[in-house]
């Protein structure tokens, strides 16, 4: 009896977590403009495909996310390995701090930095400032995934390699790196999602010509009802879901 009650309660909580997205996905296939079910249709998906603003936003978001994910994966992996070899209180402390800093604070502080630096540099806000910012907040995510893997990694493997004459670099690149590969791929996928999804920081450091997809969606949502947003949202949810599941599979390897 008690168990059953707990199960029903838990089902409700899980439903509460998932219902908003499921409802959104269902209504993205609604042929009506209004929140009344009329019939199944791909109308809003076609409208989304033909929207030049969405296409521009998507392009910008993809460029930013791919570049930021590649670089933050590289930097974060190296950092996690370095910290694993020997603790670095300052670096790991600032990585943790960057994770809990409210996004809005990260955003305005980066904006302040960029505006200040533009006094000396002939530059403006644009894709590059967004990429720089995204790398800054993605490094911590990558480092956490790689660190989790390294925690279960046997240190004596590298020692054995070095006893057999391998240099420090070879011990890393031939012994540790291959076994880190799945975790690195998982971390990269995570960084891709985190970067692609960011709105708050991006909206502050993006220039007029570097609107990202979340920025376009935000503006549309603000303007009022548009089922096109539902269609785009549904596509994002499905794509993110697939990437995250893949990432988790890789982390379990």
């Amino acid at each position: 009896m008690k168990r059953k009650a707990l199960g029903i309660y838990s089902a409700f909580v899980l439903a509460f977590l998932h219902a908003p997205l499921l409802i959104l996905i269902v209504f993205s296939f609604n042929s009506s403009r209004f929140t009344v079910w009329e019939g199944f249709s791909f109308r809003w998906y076609r409208a989304a495909m033909n929207d030049p603003q969405l296409a521009d936003g998507l392009m910008n978001s993809l460029i930013i996310a791919v570049v930021a994910a590649l670089l933050s994966t590289l930097i974060g992996t190296l950092a996690a390995y370095g910290i694993w070899r020997q603790r670095s209180v300052i670096l790991s402390g600032s990585l943790y701090l960057s994770l809990v800093t409210p996004e809005i604070v990260t955003g305005v502080s980066l904006l302040a930095l960029f505006q200040w630096s533009f006094r000396f540099l002939h530059m403006r806000l644009g894709l590059h400032t967004v990429v720089i910012s995204h790398i800054a907040f993605s490094i911590a995510y990558v480092a956490i995934v790689i660190s989790a893997r390294l925690r279960n990694y046997d240190r004596s493997l590298e020692e054995a390699a070095m006893d057999l004459g391998a240099s420090e670099w070879h011990a890393f690149s031939r012994v540790t790196l291959p076994s880190l590969a799945p975790a690195i791929a998982a971390a990269g996928l995570l960084a891709l999602v985190v970067s692609f999804d960011d709105y708050v920081i991006t909206s502050l450091v993006a220039g007029v010509d570097s609107e990202t997809l979340p920025m376009v969606i935000y503006a549309m949502a603000r303007r009022g009802v548009s089922p096109v947003v539902n269609a785009v949202s549904a596509l994002i949810v499905v794509a993110f879901g697939a990437i995250i599941l893949l990432s988790q599979r890789l982390q379990e390897k």
Binding site: Y9, S10, V13, L14, F16, L17, H18, P20, L21, I23, L24, F27, F34, T35, V36, I75, G76, L78, A79, G82, I83, R85, Q86, S88, L91, S94, Y96, L97, V100, T101, P102, E103, I104, T106, V108, S109, L110, A112, L113, S133, I135, A136, I139, A143, W169, V193, Y199, V200, P214, I217, A221, R222, V225, N230, S233, I236, V237, G241, I244, L245
Partner: protein
């Protein structure tokens, strides 16, 4: 230079340039004066921090703490039973954990927008209720504290469930058997065994929910409209519309400091150590 320091170098440089330096700029701006055209000028002053103690701004601070606290309590209320259920689900537990984690990774913006779609005047709830003739005119469900709470709880619930689950998972089943052998009813077992043992999970989960709720910006912005102003909205407003960067910096600093102190206290507490 050793291999290790060479490996740490890129992260050190990046975090110094694009995390520490921006924070240092915000720190120095918070002690400067707003220029005539919205710039930042001397003289140095503590005026910005004194202004934060104005009743208007104190009420924003109070409201942020209140909403974050309430969200945390709701997350505990929803999250504890769920974590307990998952920890006792045997082989299915991984599936349930996935179900908790998945929405967490699927676009923060989209999840918040989904509530907008459900709650607005022409949204799902109002449309259904009007079709069923339960109400004649749409109810105002959006742009109030309740909508913000709903959004925050839905977004940050996984932050409570995961540490809670991690603690409950380690709960020795022998303890429960012992309680039952000694004649404890299920409710007494819950109150006197399970809850005390799971205190570390409670603390960790609460802090992990409270921090992002306190600094929330997007959720109150979209679901609270202009009415529910939290600290995050104040910061955003000062840096954009109001163009008072020194004051916005002072507010950012308070927010940052609160988050950092909460994190530090969590990491220092023995409870957290038990979790890792």
């Amino acid at each position: 230079m050793s291999l290790r320091s060479r490996f740490l170098l890129p992260a050190r440089v990046w975090m110094a340039l694009f995390f520490a330096a921006p924070m240092a700029i915000v720190l120095s701006y918070s002690f400067l004066t707003r220029g005539e055209y919205g710039g930042v000028e001397q003289p140095w002053t503590v005026e910005n921090f004194i202004r934060l103690a104005d009743p208007i701004y104190l009420s924003i601070l109070w409201r942020s703490i209140w909403i974050a606290g309430l969200s945390t309590a709701l997350c505990a209320l929803l999250g504890f039973p769920l974590a307990l259920f998952i920890s006792r689900s045997g082989r299915r537990r991984n599936l349930y954990l996935q179900l908790v984690l998945l929405p967490f990774w699927t676009s923060f913006l989209v999840r918040t927008y989904a509530w907008l779609f459900i709650l607005r005047d022409t949204g799902l709830v109002n449309t259904v209720l009007m079709r069923l003739n339960i109400i004649a005119t749409p109810m105002q469900l959006l742009y109030n504290d309740r909508a913000v709470l709903l959004g925050l709880v839905c977004n940050f619930l996984p932050f409570f469930v995961l540490p809670m689950y991690a603690t409950l998972e380690r709960l020795d089943p022998a303890l429960l058997e012992a309680a039952a052998d000694l004649g404890a009813r299920p409710f007494a077992t819950l109150r006197r065994v399970i809850i005390p043992v799971s205190a570390p999970g409670f603390v960790a989960g609460s802090v992990l929910v409270f921090i992002p709720c306190l600094g929330a910006y997007l959720t109150p912005d979209l679901l609270g409209g202009g009415k529910t102003v939290m600290l995050g909205n104040l910061v955003q407003n000062q840096f954009t519309t109001a163009r008072d960067w020194p004051f916005g910096s002072a507010a950012s600093l308070v927010l940052m400091l609160a988050s950092a102190l909460l994190l530090a206290s969590l990491m220092r507490s023995r409870m957290a150590r038990e979790l890792t």
